[in-house]
């Protein structure tokens, strides 16, 4: 497919549930993202070009120089969990700047914190909704700002290390901010949608 004139960001969605894959794909496409869905963490890593630790390639797929601008993954998956995938992405020098969002049907604060501490940008409570899609863009844009580094990294390791330090500081701040936001979010989630009225509120509760 030819490149669109407007930047179309590419999201990789990972979920073992077929229903949820259909849903997230539709949500993302409706929000104008290019989407690839895979059913497992392993398939995700394959797509990202990370077959084994030693042989890394930049965040382009072996196929078509497709760039992945964000990974959104379910937490509970058999084999490699979303958390495991998050760790692998963040441990990879070529993939670590790709923002990762975790989804889960369960609101477990310790789980949320663990993911945020590991570098997840955000945590969505399932079922994910259209309004959640708006929260992706800032993370993608932040990731894009780090892009020039990704391309240069093989030529200039020193630069990479310097940037890592400042990035770590930034992401720590973000984590603290997001922790607060996301802790509230699950409780608030029901409330936020209740702009429609008290009836809807009662229906949720």
């Amino acid at each position: 497919m030819s490149v669109a004139t407007e930047a179309q960001y590419h999201v990789l969605a990972v979920d073992d549930s077929l229903i949820d894959r259909k849903l997230i794909e539709r949500l993302l496409k409706t929000s104008s993202y290019q989407v690839t869905t895979v059913e497992s963490g392993n398939k995700a890593l394959e797509f990202l070009g990370l077959h084994d630790e030693q042989r890394e390639s930049p965040s382009v797929s072996p196929n078509n120089e497709i760039e992945v601008n964000l990974i959104i993954t379910d937490y509970c998956m058999p084999g490699m969990t979303g958390y495991d995938l998050l760790k692998k992405v963040k441990e990879s020098s070529s993939l670590k700047d790709i923002p990762v969002v975790i989804m889960s049907s369960e609101n477990v604060p310790s789980r949320i914190n663990r993911c945020l501490e590991e570098g997840a940008e955000e945590f969505f409570l399932k079922p994910v909704q259209l309004s959640d899609m708006k929260r992706l863009r800032p993370h993608i844009l932040k990731g894009k700002m780090k892009e020039p580094q990704q391309q240069q990294q093989q030529q200039n390791n020193k630069n990479k290390n310097l940037n890592n330090n400042s990035n770590n500081n930034n992401s720590k701040n973000n984590n603290i901010k997001l922790q607060a936001a996301t802790k509230e979010k699950p409780l608030m989630k029901g409330y936020l949608k209740k702009e429609q009225g008290l009836d809807s509120l009662m229906a949720i509760v």
Partner: protein, 150 residues
């Protein structure tokens, strides 16, 4: 005349499904994702859901018979079931899944069996109701669908 009656029927069917607690607002979310490019998205997802959930239920039934001590496995199947039920807005079904989960936690096999019968029953009812709803909706036609009651 006939057509507007159909539309009214579709609207009231849907309203009943909500009023009686079969569906929750997640179903509206699905409807919001339909557009000209994907005009039948909801029906497609729901069909996929019933195919998938029927298989899960067969697995649970088998597990209850052949390996009733493995509560972890039972619960794992049910978590999948609950997850996809929640994703399509199947509210009552989701709640029955929660009950089953609790029985698993208590390692109460008889409770699990009873709860599963309820899940099965609710599953069948919802399937029937949604099949009827979509059949009617198809007759109304994509261009003229009753607007979602958001």
């Amino acid at each position: 005349m006939e057509h507007s009656n159909l539309k009214r029927l579709v609207t009231s069917m849907k309203q009943n499904l909500f009023d009686q607690g079969y569906l929750d607002e997640q179903f509206y979310e699905l409807e919001n994702l339909e557009d000209d490019i994907s005009p039948n998205f909801v029906e497609e997802v729901v069909n996929t859901y019933f195919k998938h959930s029927s298989r899960l239920m067969t697995n649970i039934e088998r597990a209850l018979e052949t390996n009733p001590g493995d509560f972890h496995k039972l619960d794992s199947y049910m978590q999948q079931f609950k997850g996809s039920s929640s994703s399509i807005g199947a509210s009552k079904l989701k709640n029955e899944c929660l009950q089953f989960h609790e029985k698993c936690e208590q390692e109460n096999i008889e409770g699990c069996r009873r709860s599963f019968q309820k899940v099965k029953s609710e599953h069948g009812i919802l399937k029937q109701k949604l099949e009827a709803y979509f059949q009617l909706l198809r007759q109304v036609g994509p261009g003229d669908r009753a607007t979602s009651s958001n």
